[in-house]
């Protein structure tokens, strides 16, 4: 069984919801990424989304754009991110790690090499923002062969036929983008999520995580009631941006602990 499945099964038994924080690899610096990942887990994260920086992050708002710029300036590459996961795995053999980013760095490495490296270092899932199911045949084939879960996004604009298409390909969990917009924008409409979820559940048998626009503990708590996992990205990356290298792990851990408590209430 995969780490992702084990994690969600365990949470289900405990009647708890997953907390899935996102950070960008290499932000604020390369040496701090692995300590940050461990800090997230200690503070109560269940699944880690690790952003692979890209020069043209079209689906991201200003906060994650700036994080990508900082990371690239720090010399972060896809190769480097995979190395960080290997480093992380030395001390943590159980927490699932999902790489999230855009397709071109993977295309440049080649899907076969990438999928093999993911398996070697202990990556559990891959979410490629700009690769919809229609363009994911090659990616899917290689990821499947190496037992890496292809994670797909669903959006408020996704119709039933597409939900079915995603249901066939998705492994691990499905990420529902809770608003029309880039990461970190707007505020989410809880009733709209509530309305959409039954349509998703009809076809998606995997756990459903909800993200985009979750900025505080109260919202995290409300969203957790509706789905299986809460993804928090920009708010955490903002905390990284506002911290110093000395206090970033402590500050981010404190924030994640608050989110954890709210979700578990």
């Amino acid at each position: 069984m995969s780490r992702i499945q084990i994690t969600f099964d365990k949470l289900k038994q405990q009647q708890r919801k997953a907390l899935i924080p996102f950070i960008t690899a290499g932000d604020p610096s390369q040496p701090l990424t692995v300590p940050l990942l461990h800090g997230l887990v200690s503070a109560g994260a269940d699944v880690l989304e690790l952003g692979v920086p890209f020069s043209d992050p079209m689906a991201d708002g200003p906060v994650i754009q700036r994080a990508s710029e900082r990371a690239l300036k720090n010399g972060m590459s896809l190769r480097g991110v995979l190395g960080m996961v290997a480093e992380f795995r030395k001390q943590d053999a159980t927490t699932p790690v999902v790489l999230m980013g855009y397709g071109n760095p993977i295309e440049a490495m080649g899907w076969e090499v990438f999928a093999q490296r993911c398996a070697e270092v202990g990556v559990d899932g891959v979410l490629t923002v700009d690769f919809p199911p229609e363009e994911s045949h090659e990616a899917f084939e290689h990821l499947q062969r190496h037992h890496i879960a292809p994670i797909f996004l669903l959006a408020p604009t996704t119709n039933e036929a597409r939900i079915q298409q995603v249901a066939k390909l998705a492994r691990g969990y499905v990420y529902y983008v809770s608003l029309k917009g880039v990461t970190g924008s707007g505020s989410i409409d809880l009733s709209a999520i509530e309305d959409k979820l039954p349509q998703l559940r009809k076809h998606i048998k995997l756990p459903i995580g909800v993200g985009f626009g979750i900025r505080d503990a109260a919202t995290a708590k409300a969203v957790a009631k509706l789905c299986d996992g809460v993804v928090v990205g920009s708010r955490i990356v903002q905390e990284v941006e506002n911290s110093t290298e000395q206090n970033v792990v402590a500050n981010v851990s404190k924030l994640v602990r608050e989110l954890r408590q709210a979700i578990d209430q």
Binding site: E107, T157, S185
Partner: protein, 398 residues
């Protein structure tokens, strides 16, 4: 028979719909609506009417005789897209998409722009059809193309400076996509070149094919036959594919696309992905030859002309190169400037710096060819917008 893209929007291995999920239903709706109206007689009639009465088509073909004589070789003919309303080929596509937006009930249009010509064209059609218009433009391009920024504002558009990344066309595209994802229901994205997610490369090509379709009728009228070579500059590739596509299955017509060589291919500071054999990658919704580093990060490009300063190129050009039907070459900044000067002095025509690249290649090869050979160059735009750039290079303050 040459028939691309396939039903999934691919030109061989190129093209596709590489977009975030939120926008996939929007591009799918666009595809369906475009296919519905493309052959609709009323849509076609309205498009033809606007092109004739608003844009001023057909654009003439002009024999640049003094220039040709000075070179002593092949005859250079110019397809005068610079004479269109708003001064470039961009308006052909902007009208087509605006008519579609109108039928889809979208009252807000957005666009990206590099040189500002597509921004001006979009602002123009938005005024013409009573739509709200937002144009995203890199902060660096706003500096380079100040007159066009003012034109867009006069036309009632909001120009949003983009400060991220290289502050040029690719970053303007990123920002326009971010707007679209946020306002997907109310907004039509009038994309300015024959690239992006399906159906844009096909749709923009179809609207721009008026260029080549006219030329195919005009050349036999003027010289009794088709040209030996058709030449156009390639940024994203819309003016080029508009001229080339109708000639793809015409035998014995050579097709040459001219990319921006910047400081030279060897310098690495250029915008010529096809000439430099850039690796295939994914950006802005399509798989194309793309200027990138070994880690798959998009690299900053350089060209004297903002409209060519883009790291990718439309998927159909990638295919035409791969199957050998078209050839792609690069012209450096200084060669383009020399061609710019030549056309001013020999013919009394001030070309856009983008178009000057196509012209420069014609000037380069004409002397190597016999006097009865004919080169048809797409003069994609006029140079008024480039006065500041050219003056600065010549050390003149306006």
């Amino acid at each position: 028979m040459y028939n691309y893209p396939d039903s999934s929007g691919h030109f061989g291995q190129f093209g596709g719909i590489y977009m975030a999920e939120t926008l996939i239903p929007a591009v799918e709706e666009l595809r369906q609506q475009y296919l519905r109206f493309r052959d609709d007689p009323e849509f076609k009639a309205e498009f033809a009417y606007e092109l004739k009465h608003y844009v001023g088509r057909p654009s003439p073909i002009y024999h640049a005789k003094r220039l040709s004589d000075s070179l002593g070789g092949a005859q250079i003919y110019l397809k005068r897209e610079d004479l269109n309303h708003t001064g470039a080929h961009k308006i052909n596509n902007a009208i087509g998409q605006a008519l579609l937006a109108k039928r889809m009930g979208k009252k807000r249009v957005i666009a990206e722009t590099g040189a500002g010509m597509h921004g001006v064209a979009t602002a123009t059609v938005a005024a013409r059809f009573g739509m709200e218009c937002i144009v995203y433009m890199g902060a660096e391009d706003i500096q380079r193309q100040a007159p066009n920024v003012f034109r867009m504002k006069l036309l009632g558009a909001t120009v949003v400076p983009v400060e991220s990344g290289s502050k040029t066309l690719k970053d303007a595209c990123n920002e326009a996509i971010r707007d679209w994802v946020t306002n997907v229901e109310s907004t039509f994205y009038i994309f300015g070149t024959a690239a992006g997610p399906h159906p844009y490369p096909m749709m923009v090509r179809d609207f721009q094919c008026v260029i080549g379709n006219e030329a195919k009728v005009q050349m036999p009228e003027m010289i009794g036959r088709q040209p030996d070579v058709v030449i156009a500059c390639v940024g994203g590739g819309s003016n080029a594919i508009g001229l080339f596509h109708p000639y793809i299955e015409v035998p014995n017509v050579q097709i040459i696309g001219v990319e921006a060589g910047g400081f030279g291919i060897a310098s690495g500071k250029h915008a010529a992905p096809l000439t430099a054999n850039a690796k295939v990658g994914v950006l802005h919704g399509n798989k194309v030859n793309l200027m990138q580093d070994e880690n798959g990060q998009i690299i900053e490009t350089h060209s004297i002309s903002a409209g060519l300063d883009y790291p990718g190129v439309g998927p159909e050009h990638c295919l035409l190169k791969e199957i050998g039907r078209a050839q792609y070459v690069a012209i450096n900044d200084d060669e383009a400037l020399a061609a710019f000067d030549s056309l001013c002095r020999f013919e009394g025509i001030i070309p856009a710096l983008e178009s000057s690249h196509a012209l420069a290649h014609a000037i380069k090869i004409a002397p190597t060819m016999a006097k009865d050979k004919v080169l048809l160059v797409n003069l994609s735009g006029r140079g008024d917008k480039d006065m500041n750039t050219v003056a600065r290079i010549k050390g003149i303050t306006l």
